[in-house]
């Protein structure tokens, strides 16, 4: 189960999205998220979904990977859509005690489901097609103005690089510790929720201890490699905004405007 997590995984490739500048991709993703939450009716939602499908196809990443990233959040999707199903107003189509399903409830459930799916797909498209170093590098560059407020932008970016690098390593270690504890007779798969959470303590403590040891060693290894913060550092891969990036941002602006237009024009469809 631990191995299924696709969070922050990068899949090298040479698609259009792979070649785009990481900064442009982050800006696009943020505006896309805004767009998802601006879509108030089915026409604008359809537009958003169409854009998502376009992104997914042009990323050149196998659909299987996207499905994997959706699998992780399927639980959240189901719960939120079921909750929304019962929150509608208007004439009930079906009623049982205080629970009632209405047309507006159904439409809300569909809305929420599509929104979450679009959100996850677009975010996955970013992490699948952008190497973590480029991603954090881009964040560092985009956050540069925050330096005025004495925010340590380089350090934050470095921390993110290391966090992304250690996700698979720590997952693997968690797996190992769990197996080791199971071999010693620990029971993790039965009992109620509180018992199960308690059963995790013997996993978390060794994990914490070893993470601190890893951190100490990593710090030493970084010092050995002459790391002394962001001052005077250069980059092997220099970010470069090309024509494609500007075109994409312009296109996104047009689509975003389209979504807002649809909201106003088809307002009665909500």
């Amino acid at each position: 189960m631990v191995r299924d997590v696709t969070l922050g995984q990068y899949l090298p490739g040479n698609s259009l999205i792979h070649r785009m500048d990481a900064r442009a991709k982050i800006v696009l993703l943020i505006s896309f998220i805004v767009m998802i939450f601006c879509a108030f009716n089915f026409v604008s939602l359809a537009l958003t979904a169409a854009v998502t499908i376009l992104i997914v196809i042009s990323s050149g990443i196998p659909l299987k990977m996207y499905l994997k990233s959706l699998k992780v959040i399927i639980f959240i999707v189901v719960i939120t859509s079921v909750l929304n199903l019962f929150y509608g107003t208007g004439d009930p189509l079906w009623q049982w005690g205080f629970l009632k399903i209405t047309w507006s409830g159904i439409s809300r459930a569909i809305f929420v489901t599509i929104r979450i799916i679009c959100l996850i797909l677009a975010t996955s498209a970013l992490t699948f097609t952008t190497s973590p170093t480029n991603l954090t590098d881009a964040l560092e560059r985009l956050m540069k103005p925050l330096k005025v407020f004495h925010i340590k932008v380089h350090e934050i970016a470095m921390m993110m690089t290391i966090a992304l690098r250690f996700i698979p390593t720590l997952l693997e270690e968690t797996d190992k510790i769990m197996q080791a504890q199971k071999a010693r007779g620990a029971d993790m798969d039965s009992g109620n929720i509180i018992q199960r959470i308690k059963a995790l303590i013997p996993v978390l403590i060794p994990l914490f201890v070893s993470s601190f040891r890893r951190a100490y060693e990593l710090a030493m290894a970084m010092e050995c490699r002459c790391y002394q913060g962001g001052e005077g550092r250069t980059k092997m891969k220099v970010l470069h905004m090309s024509a494609i990036d500007y075109i994409m941002i312009a296109l996104m602006a047009v689509v975003l405007a389209g979504v807002i237009f649809c909201n106003i024009f088809f307002w009665e469809l909500v």
Binding site: S131, P132, T133, I162, R165, E217, A221, M236
Partner: protein, 283 residues
């Protein structure tokens, strides 16, 4: 003065025992040694003999509390020179997982040169060369966590080579690897020493790794026990055994034969030499 010179180095750790009394433990107790440029040295000893502590003195990760260490004529205690020293002497640690910073092989190798402030095009060149030197070029786009231990350790070595140091200190680089991984790493180290003329200080407790070196330095309880060519050192089987140190299996066999009266002129170090010796005796 040689490339690396240690003069009467002492270093101790302060620990608290159960009664909260601080006990001072001498990790290194008056060690003097010299390393020539281009040499391949094996620093040998069992756990707690001070060899890892010594390793950290060569690139100013630790500063001697007594005596001094000079790297290319610079005292490691000189303030503001730490950077220059680390640029010249790279240190590879035991656990490859904890040394890799980035999630893509080539970006990790680039980490060192990036810290040195080298222009992007030059970094690219250095990264490619470093990866080729350890035969990992075709893995440059891979994620480190998907590689084997030996491959990861070679990436860690490449990360140091990309900084173009004159000397690489390896602190038990094979301790966590399987036999195949050990073999890969040792081959890479030997190649770097022969072809790129990089000075190697290999810290190990495997005797058959020490045999590969030009010179072996044996440490015990923070002091140098003996040093010399592998053949000289390992012919002192009695001395090494007294300090609970092993000798290569081939040498041990020959030693036991010698003790039981078989005439042996030349102590074998490797399995091949041992076979040769046995054939000689049997004829």
């Amino acid at each position: 003065m040689e490339f690396i010179t240690a003069e009467n180095v002492t270093f101790y750790y302060e620990n608290d025992d159960e009664q909260q009394n601080s006990i001072i433990k001498n990790a290194i107790d008056g060690v003097s040694l010299e390393v020539k440029k281009g040499e391949f040295i094996a620093l040998l000893g069992h756990n707690g003999c001070g060899k890892s502590t010594m390793a950290k003195h060569f690139n100013a990760m630790l500063l001697p509390q007594g005596g001094s260490v000079y790297v290319d004529g610079i005292d490691t205690k000189t303030e503001g020179k730490t950077f220059d020293i680390r640029k010249q002497v790279g240190l590879v640690l035991q656990n490859p997982d904890n040394q890799l910073v980035a999630s893509i092989v080539e970006e990790d190798v680039a980490f060192g040169p990036e810290n040195l402030g080298i222009p992007p095009k030059k970094i690219r060149e250095r990264v490619d060369n470093a990866l080729k030197a350890v035969d990992m070029y075709e893995y440059r786009k891979h994620a480190p966590y998907k590689l084997s231990g030996g491959q990861k350790q070679r990436i860690a070595i490449a990360g140091i080579i990309a900084m173009e140091p004159d000397c690489i200190v390896l602190d038990e680089p094979t301790a966590m690897l399987d036999p195949k991984g050990r073999d890969e790493v040792l081959k890479a180290i030997q190649k770097l020493n022969k072809e790129n003329n990089i000075t190697i200080i290999l810290i190990t407790h495997y005797m058959d790794e020490a045999v590969l070196a030009d010179r072996v330095i044996v440490m015990d309880k923070g002091k140098i026990l003996t040093q010399g060519k592998p053949r000289e050192v390992f012919s002192q089987v009695h001395l090494l055994k007294k300090h609970r140190l092993d000798v290569p299996q081939a040498t041990e066999l020959a030693y036991k034969l010698k003790c039981s009266g078989v005439k042996i002129d030349k102590m074998p170090l490797t399995d091949e030499e041992c076979v040769e010796m046995l054939e000689g005796i049997l004829k």
